[in-house]
Amino acid sequence: MANNLAIDNVGQESAEARLAKALVGFKLRDNAFRLLTLAAAWTVLILLGGVIASLIVGSLPAIRAFGLDFLTTEAWNPVTEKFGAMAPVYGTIVTSLIAMAIAVPVGLGIAIFLTELCPYALRRPIGIAIELLAGIPSIIYGIWGLFVLAPFLQEHVQPGLISTFANVPVLSRLFAGPPYGIGVLTAGVILAIMVLPIVSAISRDVFETVPAVLKEAAHGVGCTTWEVVRSVVIPYTRVGLIGGVMLGLGRALGETMAVTFVIGNAHKISPSLLSPGTTISATIANEFTEAVGDLYTSALIELGLILFVITFFILAISRYMLMRLHQREGR
């Protein structure tokens, strides 16, 4: 009897102990999981820090050798080890500007169509088709640009541009020289196709945040659809639109493969948009694996650092503006 009771007691105690143990185990695992997720969140920050740090370390030899002259030198000569970033930086900015000049109006037009004019049944299919354009890898745009767009521009568009503007003062400089096909203008056009879906998708999203009441009120006082868009929709979404355009610009600045195929990789600044040029990313893609010597490699990494700093600021501004729009929406 007494013996049995003792055994029961032991059994009870061990049950309680087991429960306590299980609870401690739960708590441990729970904490472990929480810390694991926290560590992962920090890792994302560390990744960005690592990117910046490694680029700075990698470009130190070039920074020491050239200092600030790197930014203002046009020469790029691996033989004499004289490197300057001016030509690639110029090419990057000019191609991106051409891209934005084409993509922003067309992208806005598509967004206006999708939110104001499109029959409801077609909205999703057309929206998806435009977004699919954004999903196509950049190398596909590159090969298409090289084999289809460049010959087309060379044969049908560029001779026309050259002869049309031959006697116009400024434009004759912009469209001068033989039609190579590949060059700054072609790169800008390819970039425009790549940026277009981003601009139109984001503009469509921000246009959809406009309260229907505002639009209806404008229609009610007799505005035409265009007037509603110009005086209500666009002013209401201005911050978000700028954010979307900047996001597209960030993409255009950093885009590599599409540009590398069609820009011609010539390290010079030429006033003509038809002549070959280079961009930061195209220079790195073309020359990095062939770079001999520490200084050459380092100069290329410094180009990467410049590109990253430029896109970082553009993207940060863009995200900040889009965030402000969402905050206003939340209020």
């Binding site: 739960f26 695992r29 729970d30 999981f33 929480r34 694991l36 926290l38 992962a40 969140a41 890792t43 994302v44 960005l48 990117v51 680029l55 370390v57 990698g58 109006p105 067309v106 992208g107 037009g109 598509i110 206006i112 004019l117 057309i126 088709a129 699919l132 354009l133 999903g135 196509i136 890898p137 190398i139 596909i140 590159g142 090969i143 298409w144 090289l146 084999f147 289809v148 196709i193 139109s200 035409t224 659809t225 265009w226 007037e227 868009v229 950093g254 590599t256 195929f261 990313s281 790195i284 893609a285 990095f288 694996t289 990467g304 590109l307 990253f308 896109t311 993207l315 940060a316 995200r319």
Partner: protein, 279 residues
């Protein structure tokens, strides 16, 4: 009433331009896909999937490049997904209102659109220089760095869509937080999480720039992760810019393969998302 006429005419003109814009956008998509189909299909043959990339001027296939792309993409997703999902889980579940979450979200959005070539330079500095040679492992690592922000973003978004009453009900049963997340939140968001992984695969399967100086390229079949490895995008880059007809044809065929894979993945991701929304 001339003023009304001008306003109407202006309305028609600008809205007409919007139609033109849509025609340009859709037309471009159609032209690119049509060229790709036309040029790519011509080169499709069993040899593409069974033979190695040829030396200049002879026939061959893309087997080593396809295998390399599959291996590095799989490895990149396998490395990047857990990290991205854990970080996204922290942001949506534990630290929903913490300052860290706001900062990580901001940084993550920047990483999401950061130039991929810079990611390649980063991995080159960290892995290739240390190891002393190019390798498939470095290629996979650079793809993983591109995967992480995509997964972080979708994980956070999808977990935030899970209704809180589900979590509260589970917590009321006395379940610890980790189990609430694992057995309730993850399951409710499963379709969305899979969508994120599909989008990430689509994103990296055409990625070229970071592979150029991490995995480099390889003319031969290789499964050695410690050696350079071929990949479809790198082969397309090399072959398209060459003067040889056979190489250019293989580049088009490779481009068609990548584009079909990416389009199938994006459409699948979209279908998954819509199904969830309908439910």
């Amino acid at each position: 009433m001339p003023i009304y006429d001008t306003r109407l005419r202006r309305d028609k003109a600008y809205l007409g331009l919007c139609y033109v814009a849509v025609a340009i956008g859709l037309g471009w998509l159609a032209i690119i896909l049509a060229t790709l189909l036309f040029e790519g299909v011509r080169g499709i043959s069993p040899a593409v999937f069974t033979q190695m990339t040829p030396p200049p001027g002879s026939e061959g296939g893309l087997l080593n490049a396809i295998a390399g792309s599959l291996i590095m993409t799989a490895l990149g997703v396998a490395l990047g997904t857990p990290l991205g999902m854990l970080a996204g889980t922290y942001m949506a579940e534990y630290g929903r209102h913490s300052k860290l979450t706001i900062v990580v979200r901001f940084i993550n959005d920047i990483l999401l659109s950061a130039p991929s070539i810079v990611i390649g330079l980063f991995v080159y500095e960290v892995l290739v220089v240390r190891m002393g040679h190019f390798s498939a492992l470095a290629g996979a690592a650079s793809l993983a760095v591109i995967v992480v922000p995509v997964i972080v973003r979708t994980t956070e978004d999808m977990l935030l869509l899970v209704p809180d009453p589900l979590r509260e009900a589970a917590s009321a049963l006395g379940l610890p937080r980790a189990i609430v997340i694992g057995k309730v939140a993850y399951r409710a968001a499963r379709a969305g999480l899979v969508t994120g992984v599909l989008l990430a695969i689509a994103r990296i399967s055409g990625e070229t720039a970071p592979l150029l100086f991490t995995a480099l390229n390889n003319q031969f079949f290789s499964t050695n992760l410690n050696a350079p490895m071929a990949s479809l995008p790198a082969v397309i880059f090399q072959f398209a810019l060459s003067p040889y007809k056979e190489w250019q044809q293989l580049a088009w065929t490779g481009a068609l393969l990548i584009t079909s894979a990416v389009l199938v993945l994006s459409v699948a991701a979209r279908v998954l998302q819509t199904e969830r929304r309908v439910k």
